[in-house]
Assembly symmetry: C2
Homo-oligomer: 338 residues x 2
């Protein structure tokens, strides 16, 4: 029921995902009177779907704490409960981000070894694709949080992006050891002294995000949220400037027509709908947040990310990595003072 | 002597600035044996220039503290000393940012009422142009720092960008009052209860930077530095993707040729050299940092920003605003707890 175009956008997105993932089964939580007619028009989807009625919804403006208290019968909550109960292997929602995170944390619980879950997403770079986290779940982070994000992000890059030995960078204001605040400097010292399945590259800067210098960009939720939105805003600004340039004269319009196939490839490559689906990492279960303003194609990609996470057993892999890390003596703090 | 193409880039940049600002006089600090031959080829610039020889330079890799201790006779230091002594109305350098900030702070001193100077820069937006600060001088900031940045940024928008009543936004992870960490929430409370020459808009998010939602975007130096570099990186990524698209087929190459005049307008509009020149605000004197990798055109724009600041008496305006603010009872802390 969440997102600007729900529930039609969600049902149509599921139908696109069904075509890509023929083995998937879909559980729809929400107003059956609105969902069933949509499914009636999509018989192949209806065959692999079930509808779980509730007339309670979490509104976009609801505070997370209020949603948690009052939303026990809401479509969002029931969908998360289904993951906890094993009825669903993952949950996707285009609804209220804060409420989804609060409920997912409360119901699914945080994994052993992880203090706080993080929001991760992937995006196009000069090299290929990278993942960045945290994108807003944790406004203030200490060194341990950042180290945990690094491990979770690395598993994401391996399982979803298919990178064999992901490189990990800590977002900072400079590449030198002395740069940045205490949390990033301490996190770097811990990561340098820890054997991870990936490779710790060191500090990276804001421009390294688009360059694709590393596969995993680790940062606190404040910086990550600002950076990812700044990037989105800049991409839109350039698209707008470009549109304006092509419209500015008859010749440039003609030029656009000739270059259109190539420009369409560019548009596809940078289409934000392709990168829709922010993953909540660090929970005992898979929860993915879709952009509220996306369409069916974008929502189908958020479902795709969810299915990727499920198929590759991302949750178990994160658990294994943390079990391995925490089995060792806590070398981090000592290494930091070397 | 600072920057990749120095000293030729600096001298040639000064010559471009001379054409735009015929009343300007130029003082060059550095290796006279390298600077004089460059000036000899530019007689009109030579007429309005003087060369102040020193063979000491601050290197790009020097630590700010070391530069401060050992660099008393360096070209950077002598140029800043000239501002303190009234021989120059402002200083521009393409050298080591940290050293320039440390020396400028030490020599020019921070203005009364300001705890820490900030680095500010302006950039193109969907609406026109905006200024953002701090871009890296202060990695950790409290509410008072952010409030001071707001006042300084507002003066910059009035004097350099020519906005009559600038709007000010605090960068945050959401627009609601409860979002963000303590420093931004407290700064918002103070700004809401303070009468500024500008208008406090409230919180803005990362995508508001490119949208141009406000004229002045205020943030801490960590977030600001990451955001501005993330934006630069994204702009380069899109330019690269676009170049690739136009080269991909014969038709798209032809399309490019037809649209070239319009695309050149776009390139000019988004040319980072046009926005070169980061201003150190909050000092008793004008100091501007040029990108080290820029060319003569970029450097001339950093000189242009310096001259704009001088002509509009930006330093005095900031002082006046702070005198007015601090003359009042400190209402900030009380307002924050309302």
């Amino acid at each position: 029921m969440g997102g600007d175009g729900a529930p039609a956008m969600v049902v149509n997105g599921a139908d696109l995902a069904r075509a890509r993932f023929p083995q998937a089964l879909f559980l729809f939580f929400g107003d059956a009177a609105r969902i069933r007619p949509l499914l009636d028009r999509l018989p192949r989807l209806a065959e692999v779907s079930s509808v779980h009625h509730t007339d309670q919804v979490v509104a976009a403006a609801d505070k997370p704490s209020a949603a948690l208290r009052a939303g026990r019968g809401s479509s969002m909550r029931l969908a998360i409960d289904a993951v906890r109960d094993g009825a669903a292997a993952g949950v996707v929602s285009a609804g209220n981000t804060g409420a989804l995170m609060a409920m997912a944390k409360f119901v699914l619980k945080t994994m052993p070894g992880i203090d706080r879950p993080a929001i991760a997403s992937f995006f196009p770079t000069m090299r290929s694709e990278s993942v960045m986290l945290d994108l807003g779940a944790n406004v203030v982070c200490d060194a341990d949080n950042l180290v945990q994000f690094a491990v979770m992000g690395e598993v994401f890059a391996r399982t979803v992006l298919g990178v064999l030995r992901p490189t990990i960078g800590l977002l900072n204001v400079g590449a030198e050891d002395l740069k940045g605040h205490e949390a990033v400097r301490e996190a770097a010292a811990i990561l340098r002294s820890t054997t991870l399945p990936g490779v710790f590259h060191g500090f990276v800067e804001g421009d390294d995000i688009a360059k694709g210098t590393v596969d995993v960009v680790v940062t606190d939720g404040f910086t990550g949220n600002v950076a990812v939105k700044a990037i989105e805003g800049t991409a839109k600004l350039y698209a707008e400037f470009l549109r304006h340039a092509f419209k500015s004269s008859l010749l440039s319009r003609l030029g656009y027509l000739l270059a259109r196939p190539a420009l369409n490839t560019l548009r596809v490559r940078t289409d934000p709908r392709r990168y829709n689906g922010a993953i909540f990492l660090g929970l005992n279960g898979i929860a993915v947040k879709s952009h509220g303003g996306t369409d069916a194609f974008g929502f189908s990609n958020a479902i795709g990310v969810t299915i990727d996470m499920i198929r590759h057993g991302a949750t178990d892999k994160i658990k294994e990595d943390f079990a391995r890390l925490t089995a060792r003596p806590p070398s981090g703090a000592q290494a930091a003072s070397v």
